[in-house]
Amino acid sequence: MRRLLLSASAAWLVAGALFAQEAPRLTGPEPFNKETPAPPMQRQVTDDFRRKRNYPDQPPLIPHSIEGYALDLNANKCLACHARKFTEQSQAPMISVTHYQDREGNTLGGVSPRRYSCLACHVPQTGAQPLVPNTFVDMDALVEREPRGR
């Protein structure tokens, strides 16, 4: 009995090693501890051209460079253009009215603290190609595909 158990577990180990070799690598270099050159830095999209939102409540993307912009407890460079009181001189879109409300929907005098860190939701884009193809379908395209009733 004991011998059987031993040989069975040995066979299991060998089989495991064999299967592991045949399994496709999910990520990383081979061997895994080899250093590979970093991929080149991608250029930021800085054309100031507003991108369509993929769904109505998507945070709008940032179509300009934000390199070196201060965003910490002391200073918020984004608000120096996008805050309500600076939008006339900067001609930048004002941050959404939801950013002047607390979570209960009460209107506040200034930017809500929970909306202060802009880059938590709004991000600039680069020219990088996606590593995995994206199968996202716009809601409107989905609706158009439906056959009309009646």
């Binding site: 300009h64 070196g68 200073a75 600076f86």
Partner: protein
């Protein structure tokens, strides 16, 4: 009156002064003029060498107040490393290049030597507490001299707005070219981190 007369005679009867005011007895006129010329060259050369030495990044970052705070923050900004390999070192932005202005700034900087000796910002906390005041000094200086240190390298004349993105071009055409604003009015905190900007115009 008598005191002044006494001081006057004490001065002129002083043996050093008597020697200095009497015509030379053994030294030739040629030796004195040429020697004076050489001594002048040595003095002026030495003065300028020391002045230039205090105008280098190595000198500025030789004290830890600068090295551990503002110099660390400069690293990683575009004025430290960039695609064209040009660096704006500390004095490029903080010391005027023209001689008179430079000497005036150097005399002001003696306050910084005082601060170093008595350790007014010798810890990070002390520095952060004073940062707003120190930044206000720099903004005031650059506002007063129309951002002279920026214009050491950048100028409105050599700025090609067609190479800028539309946003930057519009802002420069509206405010810089019309003289309404100077560089530092908008470009604060481009080389170092910012202090608390509450109450600073244009920030919130």
């Amino acid at each position: 009156m008598a005191a002044i007369a006494r001081a006057w005679s004490w001065f002129w009867l002083n043996p050093w002064v008597r020697t200095a005011t009497r015509p030379p007895v053994t030294l030739s006129l040629a030796f004195l003029t040429l020697g004076g010329f050489v001594a002048g060259v040595l003095f002026w050369g030495g003065f300028n060498t020391v002045l230039e030495h205090t105008n280098t990044e190595t000198f500025c970052t030789s004290c830890h107040e600068m090295r551990a705070n503002v110099f660390e923050e400069l690293k990683g900004t575009i004025h430290y490393t960039n695609r064209s390999g040009i660096r704006a070192t500390c004095p490029d932005c903080h010391v005027p290049h023209q001689w008179t202005d430079k000497i005036a700034r150097k005399m002001q900087a003696s306050k910084e030597v005082w601060g170093h000796i008595f350790g007014s910002i010798d810890t990070r906390d002390k520095f952060l507490n004073l940062r707003h005041r120190l930044a206000e000094h720099e903004w005031a200086r650059m506002k007063a001299n129309d951002s002279l240190e920026c214009r050491n390298c950048h100028s409105a004349q050599s700025m090609d707005v067609s190479k800028q993105n539309p946003r930057a071009a519009a802002a420069h055409e509206k405010d810089l070219f019309t003289g309404k604003k100077t560089c530092i009015d908008c470009h604060k905190g481009i080389a170092h981190k910012l202090p608390n900007m509450q109450g600073v115009p244009g920030w919130q």
